[in-house]
């Protein structure tokens, strides 16, 4: 459940919208200002998306029940074979549903 009041929530959404739009024009704006990014800064920038997204997966795996752990692991194996998210979601979701309805009871 969300902890925010309605107006607060709408402000956060609009803030996120402005911030997202800034990323969409940032390359265009930066291109005229910065010519060369130092290699270490570039390495750090390159690592940002994977680093952030990992923090949304790993604790869910750690804190989830065994059936959630199994589902995430099954999706990981699927992902090694199929690049797109849909097969991973299909396998992971089926795994968790089978566990919850046929094994846990």
């Amino acid at each position: 459940m969300s902890d925010f009041t309605n107006e607060h929530m709408i402000l956060v959404i609009l803030g996120a919208a402005v911030a997202t739009y800034m990323t969409r024009i940032a390359g265009y704006l930066l291109l005229s200002v910065v010519s060369d990014i130092p290699p270490r800064a570039e390495a750090a920038l390159n690592a940002i998306p994977a680093a952030v997204l990992t923090t949304l997966v790993a604790p869910a795996f750690y804190a989830g029940g065994w059936e959630s752990k199994l589902a995430i692991a099954a999706a990981l194996v699927t992902g090694l074979r199929y690049e797109s998210p849909l097969p991973m979601i299909a396998v992971g979701w089926s795994t968790v549903m089978i566990c919850r309805y046929f094994i846990i009871g």
């Binding site: 459940m1 969300s2 925010f4 309605n6 607060h8 929530m9 709408i10 402000l11 956060v12 959404i13 609009l14 803030g15 996120a16 919208a17 911030a19 997202t20 739009y21 800034m22 990323t23 024009i25 940032a26 390359g27 265009y28 930066l30 291109l31 270490r40 570039e42 390495a43 750090a44 390159n46 690592a47 940002i48 998306p49 994977a50 680093a51 952030v52 997204l53 990992t54 923090t55 949304l56 997966v57 790993a58 604790p59 869910a60 795996f61 750690y62 959630s68 995430i72 999706a75 992902g79 690049e83 797109s84 998210p85 849909l86 991973m88 979601i89 992971g92 979701w93 968790v96 919850r100």
Partner: protein, 238 residues
């Protein structure tokens, strides 16, 4: 080609990517409402943010009582590839007047960027009419699917019974795996995973997001940069 033909051709270019994004629009709508956001707030996110991963990260963090500034920072971080996209798109749309450029950047998503660059490389010419056609199909379908998902989400009383709780982590996992060709991918992911789990267990939610992410990013800055520098096109399509 006339502007109408260009626009129709854009609609065609956007159609298949729009269909493949559709399930995520619906997923977003359903999860957002099942998580406690109103249909209005959910629709507002799709209308104003229009970035699937950002919106799903937003919903995930709203549920964890994370400070607003940290939500916005996380959303920017997830959307960071758009900085690279907009730099690469700039020469492709350099002939658009400024207001049209600003609209073009708002409509820029992974498939829109990929289609525009494909067209540019085939020297078919990226006109504003074509770009708008492709972008509007994606935008409109995304918002329709959000509303459908949000409506269905209102009927969901127990997300776990429908297995909805595992969908977001798996979706994020698929995005993480999409970056696996980047330099130092495995060490960065391993350190972020370990850091976020430790922070989750010791400090508690929501700090695991920033602590885990910072650990991975610092490691990337410390490690020697990847052996081979990837070519321009490879880098932008990841």
């Amino acid at each position: 080609m006339s502007e109408t033909t260009e626009f129709t051709s854009g609609l065609r270019s956007g159609f298949v990517p729009a269909l493949s994004a559709a399930p995520f629009g619906m997923l977003f709508g359903a999860v957002s409402v099942a998580d406690g956001q109103s249909v209005f707030e959910t629709a507002l996110m799709s209308i104003t943010i229009f970035a699937g991963a950002s919106q799903l990260v937003g919903v995930e963090l709203f549920g964890q009582r994370v400070a607003p500034w940290l939500i916005i920072v996380s959303i920017v971080a997830v959307n960071f590839r758009h900085v690279l996209y907009s730099a690469a798109l700039t020469p492709v749309i350099s002939h658009f007047p400024l207001p049209k450029k600003m609209i073009a950047f708002f409509l820029m998503t992974d498939p829109q960027f990929a289609e525009a660059l494909k067209r540019h490389e085939k020297e078919q010419g990226v006109t504003f009419s074509w770009y708008l056609g492709a972008g509007l199909v994606l935008y409109i379908l995304w918002n329709i699917m959000t509303l459908i998902g949000a409506t269905l989400g209102g009927f969901i009383k127990n997300p776990e019974a429908l297995g909805l709780d595992v969908l977001l982590p798996i979706y994020f996992l698929s995005l993480v795996m999409g970056f696996r060709k980047r330099p130092n991918y495995l060490p960065v992911v391993a350190v972020s995973a370990l850091g976020s789990i430790l922070a989750y267990a010791i400090v508690g939610s929501p700090w695991h997001v920033s602590i885990g992410a910072v650990a991975g990013i610092l490691l990337a800055a410390i490690l020697p940069p990847g052996a081979k520098r990837r070519r321009h096109s490879e880098r932008f399509y990841q």
